[in-house]
Point group: C2
């Protein structure tokens, strides 16, 4: 069950977004969202909350640059996200990421979102008041959306792994791959991310590409990453983190072979840039770094309405506006972090089959999409983890 939006897409949650154009308006954005905590929404039980989307970027960059455009695409992806019923933007005024450019470059004029500019409103307090009124004016429309029965094909699931260990490629990731195959069989969509964790295993994806163009787009992104890391004096093999190595992973090749298993076995139907709207169905890829919060932010901004996150070392990740399901790759972790883990894929080492755990993950996808709260949602996690990829130098 989900919330059907005017554009036909289906949300799994019903949030209102207060979105910052620049770090300089972030405190104001938090203060506006704060006004809707506690009992403030008691008359609107169908609204899941008012979420502050703040970040550290938006200025110190080149006006009109690709970098600013990518941030605008990310913010627009949240604004237009199927889990966001309505939104406002809040800017300072003098920043490089101009609020009017954001709206026009992303084609958001028809949403007619309230646009608040601190330098025009006359300061922090004045903008918090105006923003609170603006959000209040959106409540009736947001509340008018109701959960309705929708097919599983409306799910767009972000696939992610974080804090991987040597079990990730044996239990959690292939089990998630089975769930993805079930989802795709129903007409749904699942998006891999973390291009730096596909590196070295890209042949396993290109040979499944539904067309030469899709394969070539993936290889183009891989080449971009090789160039980008070289220009910055890195290697992609610098990716495995200390925790990965403590968990038994040696190189990016080993990590990647396990990571791509999340994608199941169906054809690769599309490759999208960071926060670019996903327009294909089935199994796709969204270009993004391996750093989890940045990668998931891109997948969600591309339209994913649910996240499934496997972990061997442990995590308490969430990423609003999408709910996140966390899958432990081993029972020791599952038992240790029971309050954070939704599924124990360590069962595979104790007699369960990958198909059984895959079916369990798929069932939980449907349940959480239909409103059941995941562990991280129960804890209210997911604002800090909004982490747009800030590309390029800061001036």
């Amino acid at each position: 069950m989900g919330f059907r939006r005017p554009d036909g897409r289906v949300g799994t949650r019903n949030y209102i977004g207060v979105i910052s154009t620049v770090n300089c308006s972030a405190s104001t954005v938090r203060a506006i969202a704060e006004r809707f905590k506690g009992d403030a929404l008691r008359d609107y039980p169908t609204i899941d909350g008012v979420v502050a989307f703040t970040h550290k970027g938006g200025c110190g960059s080149r006006y009109g640059s690709r970098e600013i455009h990518m941030l605008q695409r990310t913010l627009a992806g949240i604004a237009r996200h199927p889990n966001v019923a309505a939104y406002i933007f809040v800017g300072l005024g003098c920043e490089v990421n101009q609020i009017q450019d954001l709206v026009s470059s992303q084609g958001l004029e028809s949403d007619a979102p309230p646009l608040l500019v601190i330098q025009d409103e006359g300061g922090l307090l004045e903008t918090v008041e105006a923003g609170t009124r603006a959000v209040a004016s959106l409540l009736p429309r947001a509340a008018s959306y109701r959960r309705e029965v929708v097919p599983a094909s409306e799910l767009v699931v972000a696939l992610q792994c974080g804090g991987s260990d040597s079990w990730s490629g044996v239990t959690g990731n292939p089990a998630l791959g089975r769930a993805v195959d079930l989802l795709v069989a129903q007409g749904g969509t699942a998006a891999l991310g973390e291009t730096t964790e596909v590196y070295g295993a890209e042949h396993m994806l290109t040979r499944r590409a539904s067309s030469p163009e899709v394969a070539e787009k993936l290889l183009q992104r891989i080449r971009w990453w090789e160039d980008y890391t070289a220009r910055n004096g890195f290697e992609i093999d610098n990716n495995p983190a200390p925790g990965n190595k403590a968990g038994g992973l040696t190189t990016i090749y080993e990590k990647s072979l396990g990571a791509v298993a999340k994608g199941g076995s169906t054809p690769l139907n599309g490759v999208f840039e960071y926060a670019e709207p996903i327009t294909a169905r089935g199994f796709v890829h969204v270009d993004s770094p391996g750093y989890d919060p940045i990668s998931v932010t891109g997948q969600v901004a591309s339209g994913c309405n649910l996240v499934v996150f496997t972990t061997g070392r442990g995590s308490c990740f969430g990423c609003k506006p999408a709910p996140s399901i966390k899958v432990a790759t081993n029972s020791a972790l599952y038992n240790k972090m029971k309050n954070d883990m939704d599924v124990n894929a360590g069962q595979v080492l104790e007699g369960s089959s990958l198909d059984e755990v895959g079916a369990e993950i798929f069932d939980l996808m449907l349940a959480v999409a239909s409103g059941e709260k995941s562990k991280s949602e129960k804890h209210g996690i997911g604002e800090e983890e909004f982490n747009p990829w800030i590309l390029g130098a800061v001036l």
Copy 2:
């Protein structure tokens, strides 16, 4: 008046810091700090608050890299900041910015700070409980510090301009320069930042350098910036933001000539890297981008215990743990954003002298350093603006 710390430095505020090693522990850090809001500190009136220092970095980088080292230096600069009486670090566990590396690379062992690792504690809730206990255990020590009379020479003031206009170089910045001359005459320290806004006016600083080495260090940083922006396809002249141009500034050269006026007229006694501890007295420079929150975060991490921020377009900036005084460059702005502006340098256009406004700024520096709340402090601003410079590519 200020809080004298064991290392002899003097704080203008008395905070406890809860510091995140990585974005993946940021929600946990916020939840710990949240426990000390409201009435929780009523028995500790000498403690100004428990501050969550969260950020978007800490992983997706190369283990042992210069980039991670710079983040560690920034976090250590907050931990050891004279306005921070005590602190704890909170990490996830698997991140590139390993909590033990942070402590050992920055020589923090002697502080014996509580180190909480989510993957060791067993999850979010468990870490919030442990972190709350850890902070509670620090309260008596933090509360034992008392404001005492100290000379003005203990002030280390971050000089910043943001949302500059064509009046910035005529009123706000030179008035702040007069205040800096008064401060330096008392033996105090003032740190310029924003190297990209010194660009084109660096000769005005090098000719004041107290030694050829100091001048050469500034020129080295300028050359680094030329190389860094070229490698990333930028020019430093991309710096003026849309609001600067709407405010009448044309190029970085014009902006810079106004910007360096904040530094007054005394010799340049030192040039420091981002978040590198300031070890000279008098007028110094801290290398940082022009983007205000990133620049001030570096200045504060270098040890600045007060910020003075001039603005022509308007701002509601704050940057904990240091209080920020905001100076309007024109009366129209001052009147429009009265709740955010502390000083009106627009008076210079209405008959006051730069010396008079400079003296007013200097007096307010002393008052705020001694405990008077600045406008942004009254509004509780300054956590979102903690914005460490994340250098290099994200993997």
